[in-house]
Every structure is written in C-alpha cells, then in structure tokens.
Symmetry: D2
Subunit: 386 residues, 4 copies
C-alpha cells in the first residue's frame, strides 16, 4: 500500500463486470489512487477471486459492503480507504452511498446516483449533514474540450445563449434478438432500471452535458418518449424540447435504436456572438463558429484558454486522448479534492471540478420529469424537483 496515494475501496465490479473494469482503469491511470479494498460481489468467492486478480490484500476483501465500511473504519487513518467507488447495479447505489457516507467515507458513484429522485433528495441531506465528498461519474464532463467550451461560454465568448441542441444516439438496442445480452437485459427491465431505459441511461448524460457546458438550468420541457422496438416496457428513444432559466430554447434527442450509431453524443450551443459544436466521437476537436467569419477549429492542447481543460490533458497536441482519459479526469479530480480536504484547503480548486450531489438530483429529476411530461397531452411542463 502506497501511503502517498488516495486509497480507494470498491463496491461491485467483480471479474467480468464491464463498468467496474472501466472505473479501475480510470482510477489507475494517473497514479494518484490505489485500490486497496473491495467488496466486489455478493458472492464471497467471486469477490475474493477478483481481489486476487487485482492483487488486493485478501484481508481487505470483504463479504459485504457493510462489513467493509465497519472494518475499514477501524483501520488507522493512514491505512483505511479514503473513498468508496460504487459500481453495483443501480438499485444499490443509494443504500451503499448512504452507508458509506454515514461511515465517514467519501463516495464516487457510478451514474445514476439513485433509483429515483426521492432517494437523491435523501442522499443530498445525508451528504450535507456529513463532512464527506460525493462525486458522480458523468464521464463526458471529463473531456478537455468540454471544459474548454464551458470556460469560454462562462467568459461570455458566445454572448447570450439562444439555443442548445444536444443528442445522444446509439444503435445497440436496435434488435429484439440482442435483448438478452447482459447490458441490455437489466436496462429494459422496469424492476431493475426503474421508469425509463433510454432517457435514464443516456438522455440524462445529454441533459447533464447541456447544463454543464451552458451553465444554464432546464426549467420546462415537452417530452416525446417512445418504445420503438416492439414488446418493450420502457422507452428506447426520446426527444425532449427544453426551456432554460434564461428563456434559452433547447432540443435533446436520445435513442438506443438509432441503428448504426455507436455512441453519438454531440452538443451544439448557439449564442448571439458565437456558437460551439462538439462531438464525443472526435472529442479532441471543438468548433467555434462566428457570424460571417471563418470557423475556428480548437484542438486539444493548442492555445486553450481554460485551466481545467489543460489540467485534463496528458500528452501534447495531436496525441489523441479519449473516453478513458475523460473518465480518469473525474477520478483524478475527485482524488485532488480529497487531498485538498485532507490538507485543510478551504475549497477544492474549481479547475478540478467533479459532478456531485446537485447533478445527482437534477439527473434524477430530469428522468422523472421527462417520463411524466411524455405521458401528458399538455405540451409544456415545468421542470420540478421534489
């Protein structure tokens, strides 16, 4: 165990779990974090096998997360875990986060934060009553050019924002025959996924990205969620018209049945002075457009104005960084916040931001508002929290 590192315990993510492996890469990439404990599976043998694979001390592989929090809390401060990474199925996110915080551990949770808005609001109270940090892996906010866009908009480079168009289209749920795949099955099952599939899984990322970059908040919506592939209980596609707190208009499109699309998350923000365009499929480019003037192609590593964007890069211009680096940026920023807290810094540096409890609540609220709005005959519905 490396005392200079921020120590992580993981709940979930046994061998073969997709997102757990991604989280571990992200945690590992910059060398600031060490995975020292875990409760990787409800099956103790499977959990132990994972610990072995990962080279974790068997004594710190626990049969349950409850046990982990109790035992770790007993360890000396310089040994015990600093934070818990939650990568379980969704319905466990809330109870684990709750207990972790109540046990004094910071939490970095996979998305969604909770199963529903009510849980998210409870979680907020728990976080606020504690001295713990809470982070949520809205991965796409970790991209350098997203941070650059956000910075330039905050600096007024786009003027007044008039319209936000955000889209997240995938095609992987296009066919009935793929529904039994592990990743598909739980997402399409209301018991495990809750009230929504597409909006909850990816639409919420789009909403988060739109708010993050624009620094606006959704205040009303008109939703059209669809079950396109026959026989499904939940939405696999949806469009949501938006209004933001400044009166700005918006369009959010999400689909998991846009056959042939890989992971087409893209964002355009139109202002009265300039506009930006970004696509996750080529994340190191950010287009800046002006009126009757040539278009500017901003590239990762070249003349960036945002410190947060520069922090988020590791290699010189022209050496593409991608999704795992964006994910790692969430982790490294969270680790830096923990270090700052340990060092007694008044506040973590804004250039190392991490999505948190506010984003957790707005995300769950977005899902619930969209589902409700979609069910109504009335066009517009206010965006309500609680």
């Amino acid at each position: 165990m490396n005392k200079t590192k921020v120590r992580m315990g993981m709940v979930g993510g046994a061998q073969g779990a997709f997102i757990g492996a991604i989280h571990r890469i992200a945690a590992r990439l910059d060398g600031l974090i060490e995975l020292v404990a875990g409760s990787f599976s409800a099956d103790p043998a499977r959990s132990q096998a994972t610990a072995t694979m990962l080279g974790i001390d068997p004594s710190r592989c626990y049969d349950s997360y409850q046990q982990m929090f109790i035992e770790e809390a007993k360890l000396p401060a310089e040994q015990r875990i600093d934070f818990v990474a939650i990568v379980t199925p969704n319905h466990l996110h809330f109870p684990i986060a709750k207990l972790a915080i109540e046990s004094g551990f910071h939490v970095l949770s996979d998305k969604p934060a909770t199963l529903n808005l009510q849980e998210a609001l409870l979680l907020e109270q728990i976080v606020q009553a504690s001295d713990c940090l809470y982070g949520l892996t809205h991965t796409y906010t970790g991209y350098p050019m997203i941070k650059e866009a956000r910075h330039r908009i905050a600096q007024g480079e786009l003027g007044t924002i008039r319209k936000v168009v955000v889209e997240y289209s995938q095609g992987w749920l296009s066919r009935n025959e793929d529904e039994q795949a592990k990743q598909a099955k739980w997402r399409l099952d209301p018991q495990q996924a809750g009230i929504s599939c597409c909006i909850a899984d990816i639409g919420v990322h789009a909403a988060n990205l739109a708010e993050y970059v624009s620094n606006l908040e959704i205040t009303a919506l008109c939703a059209d969620l669809n079950q396109i592939v026959p026989g499904r209980a939940l939405d696999d596609d949806g469009t949501v018209l938006l209004r933001f707190n400044t009166g700005c208009k918006g369009v959010l499109m999400a689909s998991q049945v846009a056959l042939g699309e890989e992971n087409n998350l893209n964002l355009r923000i139109y202002g009265d002075k300039a506009s930006i365009e970004w696509s996750q499929m080529e994340p190191n480019s950010l287009w800046l457009k002006s009126h009757n003037a040539p278009t500017t192609l901003l590239r990762a590593g070249v003349a960036l104005k945002s410190q947060a964007a520069q922090n988020a890069l590791r290699a010189p211009a022209g050496h593409p960084e991608g999704y795992l680096e964006a994910f790692a940026n969430i982790y490294v920023n969270f680790a830096k916040q923990i270090e700052a807290k340990k060092a007694g810094s008044l506040a973590a540096n804004a250039d190392f931001d991490v999505p948190g409890i506010k984003e957790a609540i707005r995300g769950m609220a977005f899902i619930e508002n969209a589902v409700e709005a979609s069910s109504k005959d009335t066009k517009w519905q206010p965006f309500q929290i609680g």
Copy 2:
C-alpha cells in the same frame, strides 16, 4: 431560337434578383432549355434591360405576365414558350401559375407554391382541370445521393423505418442589424411572407426532403416555433416533432439564427435493418450504416443502384457536383417531362421525377399546421389538409 430545345418564358428575375439568376443557370446548364421570352419586372424598362442582358429578342420581352401569356399563345406551336418559370415574390406565385396554366403553359414555380394552403388547393384544381404540368423547385430533391437514398429505401434496404431526423439550420438571420438586407426584409415581414419565416422558408424544405426520401407522410405534429431575435413578428427558429403514417417517429429542426451555420441541411433515416445519413454541405456522400457491421460510404458516381441518381450526374466520381447541378436536375427533368408529353408518352419516366402539385399542397399544409400546432397548449395535433 433553337427548335430542338424546350422553350422557357420567365416571370420575375430582373437583373440583380438572386433567385432568378440561379434559375437561369439551372435552366441553361444542360442545354435542353432555351429562355426565349420573359416579363422580368413590373418596371418595363428594367424588364427590357434584363432581356437585353440575356440576349432575348426584344419583341418577346413583355410588360406584364398577362401580356406574355396572351402574345405567346398567339405564336406558332413550334415557336411559343413551352413553360413558364415563376421567380417573382411569393404572393404572385399563385396568380401567375393560375393564369399560365389557364393559358395552356406548363409551370415550373419557385418555392413556395402559393401564399397559403387555400391557394395551393385551388391551384391543384386548376392543374387537374388542365393538360399542363406543374413543377415546384424543391431543389434538394435534385441531389443524386438523395435520389439514391430514396431508391434504396423504396427497395427495402433499410427495412421498416423507425425514425427520421431532419434539420435545416442557417445563421444568416442571427442579427438585428442584418434585417434590412433585401433577402431578410421580406422574409420577416408578415405582409410579404405570410404567417411564418423560418418554417415557411426552410422548414418546409426539410419536411419535403424527409417525405421524399422516406416515402412516408407526416400525419401528426408537435411544434415549438420561436422568435429568438428580439423584435421579430415571425418565427426565426423552430422544432417540430413528427409522426408519419406508418407510426414512424420524427424530429424536424429548423433555424435561421443558428449563428455560424451556413446551410446545414441534413437528414438521417433509421430503419430496423440499416440507416442512412446525408448532409447537403457535402452532398456527394451518403452514409449507409448497419448493425454491428462496418459503415458504408456511398459516393456519387460509384456503384449507385438508382437510375434516377445516375441520371442526375454529369461527371465521373470525384468531380464534385453541387447545388446548381441539383437545381438543374429539377429543370432538366421537367424539360424531359415536357418532351415526353409532346411525344405523347403515356407518362414521364419516374427516373425523371419533379416535385409537383402534391408537394405544393403538403408544403403549404406543413407551414399552416406547424404554426397552428405551435400556438396550442396541446402536445399533438393531426396534420390536416384543408
């Protein structure tokens, strides 16, 4: 005058008029059509100057379109104009088309066909009662790769169509200070433009393109039209959610205040077997996407399946053709229809299609339905004609 050519008379399009010049290029490009007569302006001197510039016999430059139709009708069949190209301000499209057809001349009209749906329905009666052809320059249907997409969809290559996403975004009306420009002024004036600016000017192109390529018909809509730049009387932006006759879902976005966009018309159609993607800014490419399979890039001139697409090309692959060629394809197809009619062919070849009175009616109906739907609190409204 060249007896082998189809003879055209033009109404409107005096020196300096933008769209008239474009129409003349389109008419001229393939050498099948000769402009032999015109009434280019309400100002006879200006009309005559245009005729001189164009090398038209002064005796066939008329002071009014009424006069033109009377005098041309007196000429021998092998001399008089075959068809009338209408490129006047919008409010004159209907009366000119009406009189032209009643005078026995085919009509190729600039878009929109009429000022409103009522006129379009009247025009339909006039066309049907006559032996004349009526064409409408929905230019974007003239692109070869659009015809290829339409053909492949008609052949079932995409399977059942699930979702249509069409967008037409421009930025040229982004600023108040540009509103006095000639092209801006009339479009923003309800007296000249009617009930809509953005939807009537470009949204209708997007709707037409979606229906043309998909071979589906819009049956219901939910509209959100906006006046974004302060002080305007008409919409300069809008999103319309769509339902098609098969239950297919759709999203149509249009904007004239998407600052920095040139003429971003793009179309995606998602099926349950394959999907297509096309963008007017790079019109010679058509993307064909499949499930868990590599993407195919279809290019103008390379292994096309559609005869109509092949007809629409002039140069070998890699020699880009563009907007003027697409426009010319409307003209050349219309000329071929006229020739077929002269030759007594039962019907013009489907591979030389031209948007016609049906598209005129659906276009005007789309505008009226969208404006009405936008004004309502109810989410969905049936698409109604008349």
Copy 3:
C-alpha cells in the same frame, strides 16, 4: 444567335465524347457564351448529328476545322465565332490551335496544349505573333478556394513558403481488364498519348496547381515514375521531388493505380507564418493553419479576401459549387477577356485570369523533364525548357 454573347466554335466533342460535353456545360453555365459553330467529328454525318442535337444551324456545322476557320472568317464580325474550343484527341491540339490563331480566332484548348514541348514552344511564337488570346483548361485553377489560397499567399499571409506537397491520386487504371475502356486505351498508348500516361494526364495538373497557388516555379526535380500494372508501356504512377526558384522544397505524387481513390487532388503549402491545405474532393473548404494557434476553416462565400475567388462563386455560402463550376470559371473568365479585348481594354482584369501559353509550355516541359529525370541514375536534374 445572340449578339450579346461571346460566340464559340468547337472542334471535336461529337455525341458521346466525354470531355466535349463537359466543355459545353462549362461554356453554357453562365450564359455569356453561345456555341454557334462546330466541326465535331472527322465523320461529317456524326458531326452534323451533333450539331442537330445541340441546335446549331446546319450551315455552321463544318466537315473539317480547316473549313470552319475559312468559312467563319468570311462571316461578318458580329456573326462569326470569337473563339475556338479544342476538345479533340491530344495530337490534334497543336495543329488546330495553330490554324485557328493564324485564322484570327482566339483559342481555348483542352489540356494538354500540345503533344510535346517543341510544339508548345512553336505555339508560343504563333500566339505572340498574333493578336489572339490563348487559354488552356487547367480546370482546378478555377476553384474559388484555390484562388483564395493564391491571393492570400501573394499577400504574404503564409510568410516564406518552405514546402509544397501536392498529390493527384486516382484508382481507375488499377486493373488490366479496364484498359480497353475508351478513356483508358488512348492514354496508355504511346502513339496517342506520347511519352507519359500518369504524369501527362494528371501529374501535370498537380504541378500546375502547385505553381499557380504558390506563385513559385519549379527549377529542379528528382523523378520516380513507375509502370505498376504489368504490361503497360507508360507510367501509371509517379513521385517527383521538387525544388522551386526560391529554394522551397516540394513533393508531387500522382497515381492512376491508387485503387479506391476517386479524384484525390490535394495541396498543402507550408510557410514560416502559416500554412494552407485544400482538397478537390471537398473544394469549398480551405484550411489555414498557424503555429500554436487554432486552425481556421475558410469556406466558399464566407469572408473571402480575394476578388477573384468571389467572382468565381454564384450561390451563397453553404450551397456547394463543384467541378463544373470551376470549369465554367475558366470559360467565363476567357469570355470576359475576349469582351475586354473587343472593348479595347488595355488588359483583361487579373481577377479573371485564365491559364495560358506560359502554363502550356511549363506543363509540357514538366512532363518531358519528369520522364527524362526518371530515366536517370542521377538524383537531381534542372528543370529545362527547350
């Protein structure tokens, strides 16, 4: 016949000839030129059929170009042709151009100007001894963004030019089985094509484009021409290293066996202040790159600095123009030069430039120098004219 137009006679280009049809589209597109006479084929019946198809007065369809020049010269000045467009097989370009000029007609010739450098030098003498204009259809110089690049370089925007990389790659001659196609056959036959296939057909376009945009002249070269597909007598591929008159370095690549390439002509010019990049496959974009600064995307119709580029455009930004428009720009500029000459203007406007006799000579010299250099063991060879 339209007296306001510039009158063209054509030699070659009978029905079914590819390049003749392209020239006619180019001549026709802007309405400044009228095709009034022709000798389209050595076969009088075929020539006459072409004239009929084109609507040309049968009395002005001639059995031979010699006859055409004699008879046209007898017509009144306001009726006879102003210039001759030469679209015959290559070996006839020189004798026709020679006789046309000696008969007092301007000449616009398809490329290559002549069969060899010697003829080109003779042609120069003939042109200089006459009062006639001579133009050569190096089509790619007609693209607006090429003119914009040339202008910005002339204005010093790139600083000192250090390196020019130009490429023209096609794949259509990749297979033996395609060699009998009409376009392939003569190009691969030394009797008809002369000493080179690939370099003479497309390499010379690349060399012309490099010199045109950079305003530099090739002074030495190192050539590696190849016969890649077995059994060919002439080069179907080649790379030529270049030195320009300022010491600037260059690389020119050409291939007709780059399987899968359509018409990949692209140009990069690197300066010590900025660099440009352009590709014919997407001709309305010009990339301007700087040091440690964002890249600029210049687009046709948006904030161009060059008057010649603006002249070369017909439609607003976002309405793509392509190869035929570039070709038409050569024609329209040549027509404007003729009009200027008729009007007694001292000189045609530099903003309506057309490649001429100098480019004819440099092109033929490039071919001969490249073939000779390729045959030698010595690396570098001076670029010699005559």
Copy 4:
C-alpha cells in the same frame, strides 16, 4: 508490492520528464504492471524525490542503474523487478539495455533503441545470447486499427501491395525561437541526437509503421533530407522514396517544420484488390477502399477480424481510445510475454506482439541509410544493414 503483477524498474523519467510520465501511465493503465524500483535521475536527490512522488519504497530507489541491477538481482525472484523500462536520453539507451540484459532483466526501451546501427547490432548479439526479452516502444503499432490493417493485409484482403504512402508531419520545430525548449534542444544537437533530427525522431516511426502494417521490408531508398529552418545542423524535414522487397513502391514524408500540423502520422497502402487508409489523428477509423465499389469505414470495436486488434481495445465502440491506450498496449503485451515466459510457454502469443530487436536494427539502419542516401548524387541506394 503486488505479487500477481509484473514488476517494473525504471531508468530515467524523473519528475518533470515528459516521456517518463507517459511510460508510467502506459505501464499503469491496465493494472498488470507495478513500478517497484527505479533510478530516475543521475541526481540521487531528484531520483529519491521522484520515488517519493510515485510511492516507491525508498530502499528500491537507486543512485545509478548499475546499482539497481546489482541490488535487484540479489532480491528473491518473486520480489525483484522483471523488466527495466528505459526512458533516459538516447545515448544511454544502449549501455543501460546491455547491462540490464546481462544482469538478467528483460528490457522495454524507449525509441530509438541505440545511438546508431553499430550499437543496435551489438545489442542484438547480447539479446540473442541471453534469455531476456527486448521490446521497443514504437507506440503507433499499438493502435487497434493498425493491428486490424496488418491482419487484413496478412490475410490477403488487399491482394498484392503496389504502393505504400506514409507521412509523419509535425510543425512544432517551425521556428528558431522555439529551439531552446527542452524537447527541441537535444533533438537539434548532433552531440545528443546523432546524425539526424527529423528522420531519427519521427521518420523512423513512419518507416516502422509502413513495414509493420504491410509486412514488407524496405530494400532501397532515395532520400531528400532538408534543413529548412536556417541555422540548423540537422535535418528538420525529409522525403524518402522507397522500394520494398516485393518491388512495391513507397513514399515516406516526414517534417517537423510543417507549420500547423500537430502529429499528422498517416498511412495508405494500395493493393491490387483493395486499399487501406489510416490517420493517427483519428485513430479509431480505418478506411477500406475497393475498385468501383463503396468505401468501407471500419471502426474500433465493430466487426473487427483481428484478435490482436480486439485485444487492444478496452471500451465498446464509440468510446474513443487514443495514444495512451496504444502506448499501454505495448506495455501490456510486453507484460503478457513476460508472464508467458515465466509460465514456460513455448512462445508468446502472436496476438500480443511487441516491436523488438529486429525493429531496433531496422530503425537505426533506416536512419543511417536515409542520411547517407540524402548526401549522394546517385538516386537509388540499397538499404544496407551493417
């Protein structure tokens, strides 16, 4: 220390060293390797500070690499380092690799392997006389789509390869004023960099990539190396014409003064059946072109045929992986080879390939051959090793 992991010692790479940090990210990313020892700097204090930063046991931070090899060799097999990562200045690569191997440690060396060909040949003897693995970080071979291209070519999908075009253009050495930057200074100093700057630094990557993907070997070359920015002692630009062992033609372009280029490494390979195109700036796409057929876009994670390519990916299609992941692929494959060796496997799996001593020799030979060929008046020179 994690006994399940492959244990790494590092020579060089003290705090602030660019490439050392990149190597550590690459080693860390997949969790198979643990950095347990190091001699990070000739300055012991700086080395120790680096060890502290990295959380390495102080007892395993050594004052010199000689000491490290002696002390580590004394440790029990299950504790001592398995391999040495060499990230020092170039002139030390050879002596460190030599001593490491002679001390029984596997070596993974930063590129170039040695200062010159002579050293590389000596190193080969040392490697062959040992039981040690030797790996070289030609990073770009680690990209999944490069492996896919290599696989498809090996399977004959391109037919006979006719032409290879490879380019590596950068702009960062475009200006004299940047020459004092750390990364620039040593590269332009013959004492530290040897006989070449541009060809040795990046040209050699291009040559390696061309041979790796095509499975061909360069047998002759014609080189044109240039010192473009005034006052430099070494080449900052160069073009090399190539012949491969099958007679295949090639063109290699490299530049560090291509102002505005970031890291433009791209590769095209033209066969007689199909062709491929790849660019490092968008590494998750591989274009496959055919004759008179649509182009295919192969994407990372979608229907790949190569097991090696699939091994090289971590996230689903549409989640871009980049340069660091490619680098990590070199590391992870090297670690797997070490594990296989420990396990007594007859040979490491070909699907976990790593550039090795053969590539080391061919790389150094390429540099020396190119520099020599450039200095000669004769066009072609055989590619000679030793």
